[in-house]
Symmetry: C4
Subunit: 218 residues, 4 copies
């Protein structure tokens, strides 16, 4: 129990700093990728900030590993955390948890389940999409025969991918860009599942309510 | 209560005029966008009508804001209305509400929930699709290297987008056209969610009815 | 009641002949469209058979209108029949009903609801897809700048459309071809809804059965 | 009963050897398809191994047919097995069953139903996708005007197909490649159905649990 309470304690305390670090990571990565014309000093600072926030995630991961007392089993039991450390671009998605915690701390009632699913899915997809567009642009813009040449192209391509529309007027051509693209397709599938699933669950709730309203069960 | 009843009163009275204004807005916008060969006077009249109906929506929004007595909170509480005023092309979707009201006023029974979901989704998608096709055509037809050159191309592209098929034989190339396209993709995702969700909810209802029919629960 | 029973009687008797006429319609249309190299006499016979089976559908429609005693209301009450008469390519889908009737007549138990949904959706999509591929090929193969040049291209494009994948390597370019394509996209959306909805309904059934198995409700 | 118990006995014993043969089949097929530069002897060995494992599946099919005592009815009653024998690329999907059996033999509790659906769908799609990418590459890489020229292209195209995104920047051009592609599209539809259906079922379970938690039904 000592380990568990210390782990919970750590996670509660680390919540806000890690949330800030997530935004810092995304912002500095965006500056690094997009700021071709910025002075070299600014770009180097951005790179340093990106690395520093990644280091913070690594430290947090290590501390939680140790506090959990699980040993090597931690990697498989908390596999989502592991993925997030390896692919730090995914980190900002955890800001949704922070937002929810802040709302509750301020005494606001929790959102309804439908609203929460929509907010989670919407924010996650927006953050993942932005990070994915940055990463694909970083891989593609200088590649020979690339069709994704500006960040605008990359955002446009990301939207078409997340909606599973996929025009193909622009598409990644480098192996690294395509690997990121497959990840974004997975997000698109999950988004579709979330939208469709929520709608179907909401409809069923409304149906059962309407059925119940009719003749009272006396 | 005074505010509430006055607001409801206003909304009831404004329903039909605003519905007419919605159709006028869409029609005059279509004339303006599509009528390249019409005399200048007609095109200017169309523009004036578009602006006039937009002004009507703004006035209606202002009146409702005032009657609601919510102050600045109105913007976030009635965010759908706010979006509709900012993007007046979305306005015609509210005609679905008018249709439902007219049906009830004439003593017709309300449609079944399934039928209503299908009618709402179908009409909304048709209106949004038509408005989106107009707007994308307006942005694209004169752009260099554009592939959407006729209104027919634009409608074809809109259908492929709303069905999340996305051939990509024609696709918007201007930033403004692509922003509208992303909105249409969102509509496509929602349409897919509505179709799938309705089907799954209907199947589940049929299943539970068949299960109930079998052995009586005596 | 007299009208109703006579209508039911007619429908029962007309079932098999109309099912045969449906197949004849599809076959002769396929021969007409695909048989560029057949002697003119064969092609003319095919055209005549197509028209004859269409005439049969028209006669059946007229008889049912009259027997129903609904007058003009028949058009809106039986709108699916009306659509089928106007677009005779959709007719073969009704063969599913014939198959189901034959199964029951032979004393076979009806299929389970899941199986029926899958069989309906599968057969309908296969027939509609074949008819759609024929119609699109008919419109496209001789058009300038067409990418659908062989019937194989047309079938390939139809599959990609029905699965909402939409590569866009081949795509219709004529207005008539695109109108048919939009119909096929609608089928694709419905197919997706049927697959997803069945899966979700089946999962929910399995879940509720597993929940019930656990601790007995004693 | 004797037949049934002997069939079950055979299936239990053949489970692990057939699982190994599945992997061998996939591996040797991959070596054969991808190893253009390997010495001819290695490629011939790979081909021999592919044929040998296929022969094993045929033998297993024959034994099960005989033990089932069903006669020709076996083909339709166990149609999935028949499909697997005809299209041996589909065989590795049965490894999911082996994994589940191994887990239970080691005393591990069975996975929850959601986890099992996800594991089944994920593994099946990964195996089918890999096999499909191999088969399409085999058909396409030497075809004139082919856009799928490397195995990387083929994997990229497979991912875009399974997610129903379908960019169309690369697409099969040979008839055989397109037939395999249609099969992969079907997998993509089923995957979408599994993802969406699981999500919707999970949401409905959570909703009904939350509803039950509120006011006790006392």
């Amino acid at each position: 129990m000592g380990n568990d309470s210390r782990l919970t304690d750590w996670e509660r305390r680390a919540e806000v700093p890690l949330g800030v670090a997530s935004l810092l990571f995304l912002t500095s990565y965006a500056v690094r990728v997009l700021g071709h014309d910025l002075p070299e000093a600014v770009r180097d600072t951005a790179l340093a900030l990106t690395c520093a926030s990644w280091a913070l995630f690594l430290i947090d991961y290590g501390v939680r590993w140790r506090l959990s007392g699980l040993g090597p089993g931690f990697v498989s039991r908390r596999w989502l955390d592991t993925v997030v450390v390896l692919l730090p671009l995914l980190r900002p998605v955890q800001i949704v948890k922070v937002y929810d915690a802040v709302q509750r701390r301020h005494g606001h009632p929790r959102l309804s389940l439908h609203a929460r699913v929509i907010v989670y899915a919407g924010l996650s997809v927006a953050l993942l999409g932005f990070a994915g567009a940055l990463a694909v642009y970083h891989q593609e813009y200088a590649a020979p025969h690339a069709t994704i040449r500006t960040f605008g192209d990359s955002v446009w391509w990301t939207c078409a991918t997340l909606a599973t529309v996929g025009y193909g007027d622009v598409a990644p051509v480098t192996p690294a860009g395509r690997v990121i693209a497959v990840g974004l397709m997975g997000c698109g599938l999950a988004l579709l599942g979330a939208v469709t699933g929520s709608f179907s669950a909401w409809l069923l709730q409304v149906f059962s309510r309407e059925d119940g309203e009719g003749p009272p069960a006396s």
